[in-house]
């Protein structure tokens, strides 16, 4: 009796989790489905008929493609700057403790516990009250670096916690100059963490809407273009571009999973050989 009840409970939980995954994929399914739609009016929201036209001509909406290009440039620049700044902070924080490190930890967490709309509007008041830069490309890059630095510093710090820093001393003892030590010992050690943080920072930047909205002036990024377009018309090319990004990331995930399985298999083979 008890075991039957617990088995039903187990099944129920699995079914609930399955439904949770369906819920997560519901809008994604519609985005992909409607990329094959031939909309009647301006809004691509009612299913009409199947077409491949949108996929054959994904870049026909020149304003959309231009906005995507602006977004890529902003995110690339902001990610490079924030990855360097954030990784340097993480390097400083992850070695020996030093005076003032608790204040710096607090300063790093604060942007994460502040709503985006506060970050965006407060930065806009700063730019409003000066005359050196106008709202545009530069102010958006500045804004993105501001919120990325915390993410990069915290991510890199979490990834390099517990590293054996005596390797650096060993290099120094063997006569390596500080730059050579960094180039051949420290940098290769921290590189995976830095790359993971850069990827995260780029993803956050390219999809940022609220902070960008307050600081963009007349510069139009990809999210801003979608926002502006959504009031007048929603072209199906938006769905095509979104689906492309989606399939690209699924491909990356599958490649990663297959490689992971293969290395597991190789390890298992080596183990059995050693026996």
């Amino acid at each position: 009796m008890n075991s039957l009840r617990s088995r039903i409970g187990r099944m129920g939980l699995n079914v609930f989790a399955g439904l949770g995954l369906v819920y997560l994929f519901m809008p994604i399914f519609f985005i992909v489905l409607f990329s094959f739609n031939k909309p009647k009016g301006n809004y691509n929201i009612v299913w009409q008929e199947f077409t491949l036209d949108n996929w054959l001509d994904p870049f026909s909406q020149s304003s959309l493609t231009a906005a995507l290009w602006v977004s890529l440039r902003i995110s690339a620049l902001a990610t490079v700057i924030s990855t360097i700044f954030g990784s340097l902070i993480a390097l400083a924080l992850s070695r020996r403790s030093f005076k003032g490190s608790s204040v710096i930890n607090l300063l790093l967490v604060l942007p994460l516990t502040t709503p985006e709309i506060v970050l965006g509007s407060s930065l806009a008041t700063l730019f409003l009250s000066q005359t050196f830069v106008d709202f545009g490309f530069i102010t958006v890059v500045i804004a993105h670096v501001m919120f990325q630095v915390s993410f990069v510093a915290l991510t890199v710090r979490a990834r390099i916690r517990g590293f054996d820093w005596t390797l650096e001393q060993a290099a120094a003892d063997l006569g390596a100059k500080p730059w050579r030590t960094f180039r051949y010992v420290t940098f290769p050690l921290i590189l995976p963490g830095v790359l993971a943080a850069a990827l995260l920072a780029f993803a956050l930047s390219i999809d940022d809407f609220i902070i960008t909205f307050f600081n963009a002036g007349s510069t139009v990024t990809f999210p801003l273009q979608i926002y502006g377009a959504a009031r007048v018309r929603i072209p199906p090319q938006i769905n095509v571009l979104a689906s492309m990004v989606l399939f690209f990331s699924i491909a990356l995930l599958v490649i990663g999973a297959v490689r992971g399985q293969r290395s597991e298999a190789v390890k298992a083979m080596k183990r059995s050989k050693n026996k």
């Binding site: 930065l123 806009a124 809407f209 699924i250």
Partner: protein
Amino acid sequence: MLARRADNLGLAALAVAAVCLVALGAGWFDGPLNALVLLVLLVVLGGVGVLAAFGGPEARRLLAPYGLMKPGLLWMALFFLAPVWSLVRISLSTKESRFSVQYNFTWAWDNYSRAFSDFGGQFQRAFLYSLIATLLTIVIGYPVAYVIAFRGGRFKNLLLGLVVIPFFTSYLIRTIAWSTILADQGPIVSLLNTFGLVNVFEWLHIMENGKLLNTPAAVIGGLTYNFLPFMLLPIYVSLEKIDPNLVNAANDLYSTPTAAFRKVVFPLSVPGVFAGTLLTFIPAAGDFVNAQFLGNPNTTMIGNSIQDQFLKQNNYPVASAMSTVLMVSITALVLLYTRFFGTEELA
């Protein structure tokens, strides 16, 4: 002597430089005094540079962490701390005249009374909607995270990837997709009509006048969907760390599965729920995208009002006052919350 105290000097130089940048950015002084502040900034930074160059290896070792942190922290001083100061300053300012762009600091507290009297409903809705959405993300996210962590087996990473993939598409496109799904001609409303469930949903206050889109429920649903991974992933991380032997031990000691969950698994996953709650509630409370695409004029949240007053009405003082109130109340809530649950998991 100087070399042995290099860490104190490095810290002091960093602090002074940060204060100088905040002063310059937030406009504490005007005219020639700004030049003086800039001079102090350059002298301090130059002084540390000279110390590092001529102070010997011991001084360089002590100065190194401050040197590494300098660019990032000074950036944050100028573009995060100084803006907060100027936000508060503008929230207490008044326009010189109706068409002027100049703002004078006058301790204008009536900006705040206007923020509360005109936009009190938006504040209430922002906190109520994001509270409900946060609870819903726990209800949906916890079981999914649990099943992946304990029953995922070798598919764990694949399942986790499946959870994350929907969020690779743009935030706005996801929200617009929901407005398609919930629309009057959309699949859900027609399904409900076919099965005659509309009355039940109206009785539950999920639908209004036969509509699903443009209701409070749609806004809360959108917030729940968009912030679900911020709840699910921290819970997964904390569940994944739990040693399965602990659960086995509980079972060996004749604990029922429910008791084992309640007394062993759940307490160990509390840090994940705690971090997830902050990561969900904070962005949800300031959001205006969901309310705009999925709501109606009576479901606007404080984010909509700040955005409207700031970017459309150009009423910077009142918009800044609302922003400041949102920032202060969220900070107060976070502090209160961390007092109850501890702070280690935050970072």
